[in-house]
Symmetry: D2
Subunit: 407 residues, 4 copies
């Protein structure tokens, strides 16, 4: 419990630290309905502890502010009304100072509760809340990156220069035998409900790329006319590309001399051909794989391989895969989430929790695709081999990349 | 080959027969982008034979009309330009008479080709064209049903009365052991590429409902407030229901006395509680299953069970499952396509054909869900155990129903 | 009354004649929400007589078909429910045969009513119905032109060749003194309520162009980059042009050799530089005038000039203004409706009729602009000097042209 | 010139004072595309002086920040690229501190220019910039009111309580004779180009209401079913009302007991029946007038009457018209802008300025309607009798009210 208390404090503090480089103005804006303001993240993660722990377990519970129950509810119909998601950027009140006070108040009450009424349920809910907050830590970085990219000023989140990537090793193919195997969380610690139950799957023999696809390799795809060749794309992807007239990943742009640049949290940078490609949609990942004569792995293949191969591991921007990766799977964690071809679906025997917490994962299991691994923005210690991230096929603002597979 | 010739002639004739009860005006209209005019179906199925057979194999090929290459191309980017899908209803020219002449011309040339240049490739392409036309035969019925439903006149496609359904047997659960199994087409005849290759899958023990969900059972769900209970729905389904303010299946309506009616191809009918529920989206199917304490089957479960259980089989509207179904799986074919929870994805090792024909199936394998079985509108002999139908989760104008599964 | 009977019969017959060159299929389609199917025009004009005359004045009135009251009501809230405007093309039932029977039935009953119960109110309503039907005659031609233009076949409504235009006279400026004047209908015959009451307006001195702007003159504007010069356009017009990436009038297109063609009711034709420009929006008219150093006239200026100048007058496509126009105002009627800068607003003292007929004009007096004159599609005898046609600034499918004005 | 210097300083200071009650977060958000963030107003008004004065007249001009030329250009195509209007709320950089520094820098340079290079052109441009800034002062109040209304917290801009309105005088009708008259700016001081040239218009005899319509009178309209009676509305207004399911003015709401409240810049207030109705669209104004057996005045009528009648005049919320108004026109200025039925159009002989400044008014003269008078948010001394404000018919976030007219 003591350890949990320490972990709670550390994670909560880290969330505030992520907002440190930003002004109050930066923290209030919302660049698209899929993203949220930093302030909203700060408040919503606090709301999670208040609603699912304090409200249930604190004697004589009184909410910090009655309107916050509505303002900072993300998507829990079981809790009641919600402020409309696309209008989170209009909540100039409460201000950052009041949201910080909200965090401090809930933190103090959680600490008291841990002292006065320890127990397994509290531990479980606190652990869930911590994991939930870590998920939002990653979103804070991707959401603010999207916001900063909207202005021609293209300001950096962090003024520290981005070191050059080391030269990239050639792409190797690691062969796996497959067979009847098991995937899903296997242990006694924490996992999300979507990783359970561990269950059998049959995996046919396959090979996995030793590292992620690089910017350089993707530039070849662009230069070969990849964005204009219908034969490479899923039908919905082709509509998506043509309707928006897309020609490159979301944060790539050409300067006045035509040289490719990439907007990063460190500001615009000349495109580093050795770095892993990131911020691409499943549509782009699938088209690239098609062009490269390969395919995306399934999530079972990914997990099977990750359990068996030597793996090395991850800054706020993906780094190059050096020579050290030879003989194993490089860049599985800590660089880019890796799109799989697997639809996000319940594992056989999946059961959501009762009540509003059951809305955490299960109701999103449709028209989304699984990503495996973790990214440079994932908090250390958060991800694991059975972790299932998921986004719609057109999502590009996450640190998403490509690991190829083939027969 | 003689047999193929006969089969070709029979299928082509049946397509025209389906248009018989309709006026030329009925045949020209398009009620929504997802549906096509009857005339367009008549022409497009002919275009398929002209483009993929005559153009490739006929000596000194001259097109029937050069503009038809564009006007009646559905989605084959490899063939070139296409008339915009949502504007198919604006093609008042060519008229029905010219489209009938187009059919007759292509039929005569196909017959000559079969005589003069028989061979395996021609057989293969002709078989594909016949299967393709049968798929459009089903769409002709569902598309015209949707069109006729748009007017307050609610005219019948067929004036023949719909016989009452027999009393329905109680729903039984058939248990299956599962294990490492194989699914996919297994034979030497025709299958679509999406049924291949046959491959191993592990299926955990499960039970399947002996029959489809009935109108009566679904009415219980409605009366229990199913359309207004967020907890039963997938997140995207809940948005879908609330945005459109849906309260019942698409063709259900209440008369002035409040009695439920169902619009059918035989015109409006009092809702028959014994008939299978049909014309529901995956969203509705999933919410109903949730409410009923069950779930939808996976496509592997469906195929596994269909291969092992006694099955009976299929009018232009689903019929009731009588007592005869006891001890086996009733209504697997010939009543309603059955939603599965399986995302439409390539089987391991799937390879699309080269060229434009490779666009037939593969490029649609995203954000769609598999339906198994067949419906009252499926041409006899068209479906098989490994057949994979697929639609987006919100599609309601097909003859879609619910077969429940559980652990 | 006898004369009215004859006029009624002639106008009703002419409406049917306009549908003669078309198939039943052509008559059913609707190319955009602003346009209606020919069949709908045939039925709605009949509905007008049935609803506003027979229902009010026929003893023991029984409707031809009860559903037609809803199906063929255009916009009269006072009458009740309406079939949704954008879905008029989905009304494949009733078919053309039944609509022709509807027309014949109402015509016979109107004839009987004229015999049995003549009177001033009947005369007034019959006259209004005849004028209403003439307005729809023009819309039938512009709506079917828009429909036929949607297909790459670009079929002709009328196979008769379009004669070449005569050489065009130079554009003269006719000066008018202005002063306190009166506009509005001045007579004892029929006018629409929007032409009343005749009232005083002060008109400053101005000059009006002797003829319409030609295709050749407008081509100069295009070649001078007119569609890409923001400074020439109203703000809303510039958004309109750029959002739709417009570069020419709606029915102009370039053939494979780059030569300009114009789609007409006689089919595609090489662009005739001597013909009046037609099918342009107010946005385009205003930008052209700006570029030409002129402006559009107000409706008071147009009417003032038309009352004082020598005027000549009108085929199914605008013709050239020959030398004969010198010394007067050519092409005022029978070629193209002429955009004015006047917002469509009630004249001082305007009063709409009581009841549903009061919805005829008044409720549309907002965000529309007045056009004066008449077009090649206007039935002879329909227009007059005080006639006010009106459309939103972006409308292009009418026979609309430009007459310039200046100080 | 000294006086202009003083006036410049006072107006610039007042703009900053309007932002005083707000946090930096409040100043950054944009609640809808039609509104702008306070920070953007602060910067754009500064950009106006920098671009149209310093850039033209300052020797060795260097911009404060090159990107500001794009970021803070509102709609001047002649100046070049613009940051997209709907995304002004995403400009978290520059922050408020930098925008304040921008203001101070430009203010200092303007002061130097006035000292070093005085002259008529500078005076003219400076006067225009001051008037422009005053227009934005009003928008700052209406834009921030709209923003604050988006949250369930409904915070007040100003915590000072709103005094109760005095009892309202009965509505009198003041008759005017009309005749050939002149409207438009008549003087040697400043006016906007849209008020020129002064010109003749004929005005028929009419009567004008002695005061604005009150909340109490409009509540009668609501209670009489005004929002549900199609016969009262313009066609476009009826679509607008029904599509959005509107039932009351934008800032009216009912508390849990059903009592009407009005959101104001002083926070929510019980609806004061004596206050003038405000924040209504032209659609609502026109429907109310129709219901009340009256109409809206034309702008010529309004100006004619304002020039001839006794007028009294105007807090941050409209006040009641007390007994003192008897015998004259109360509430003409300083309460609510008054919708007229006049389309915003150029006066005869209107000529826009050359270059980018010509985009100030002229290009917006379409599909907008004129409002006359001024509101409680208009800076003192800004409006005048010939002043023409204008908005689209659906705009509700301005302080707009109703003054009735009749024959």
């Amino acid at each position: 419990m003591d350890q949990l208390n320490t972990r709670y404090a550390a994670v909560r503090k880290h969330t505030l630290a992520l907002a440190e480089p930003l002004s109050d103005e930066d923290c209030g804006a919302q660049s698209m309905p899929d993203a949220s303001p930093i302030k909203w993240h700060l408040a919503h993660t606090t709301w999670f502890f208040e609603t699912f722990i304090l409200e249930r377990m604190e004697r004589d519970f009184v909410s910090f502010h009655p309107a916050f129950r509505i303002l900072f509810n993300s998507y829990y119909n079981g809790i009641g009304e919600k402020h409309p998601r696309p209008q989170r950027g209009l909540l100039t009140r409460p201000g950052m100072a009041q949201v910080r006070a909200y965090r401090a108040d809930v933190d103090a009450r959680i600490a008291r509760l841990l002292d006065s009424a320890p127990g397994a349920e509290l531990d479980m809910l606190l652990t869930l809340g911590i994991q939930h907050e870590q998920q939002h830590q990653e979103l804070m970085l991707t959401d603010v990156k999207h916001l900063l990219a909207q202005s021609i000023l293209r300001p950096a989140y962090m003024e520290i220069p981005l070191p050059p990537a080391s030269a990239v090793a050639p792409l190797d193919w690691l062969a796996f035998e497959g067979g009847l195997t098991e995937i899903g969380y296997d242990g006694t610690g924490f996992s999300f409900d979507n990783e359970l139950p561990r269950h059998k799957q049959y995996v046919a023999p396959f090979a996995l790329a030793s590292r992620l696809v690089t910017n350089g390799e993707y530039l070849d795809f662009i230069n070969a006319g990849g964005y204009f060749n219908a034969a490479l794309w899923l039908a919905e992807g082709w509509d998506w590309v043509r309707t928006q007239n897309l020609k490159a990943p979301i944060y790539w742009f050409q300067d006045e001399q035509g040289a490719w640049q990439e907007f990063t949290l460190h500001g615009p940078q000349p495109l580093d051909l050795n770095r892993p490609l990131t911020h691409i949609s499943l549509f782009e990942a699938d088209a690239y794989a098609h062009w490269a004569g390969a395919r995306l792995p399934t999530e079972a293949e990914w997990e099977y391989a990750a359990a068996r191969a030597a793996i090395d591991s991850g800054a706020l921007h993906p780094a190059g895969a050096g020579a050290g990766a030879a003989g194993g799977l490089a860049q599985m964690y800590g660089h880019c989430w890796q799109w799989t071809s697997s639809s996000y679906a319940p594992y056989p025997g999946f059961a959501a929790a009762e009540g509003a917490l059951g809305e955490y994962n299960g109701k999103f299991m449709l028209n989304q695709y699984v990503l495996r691994g973790s990214s440079c923005a994932t908090p250390p210690g958060h991800a694991r081999i059975s972790y299932r991230n998921f986004f719609p096929a057109g999502a590009r603002w996450q640190f998403t990349g490509i690991r190829l597979a083939r027969r």
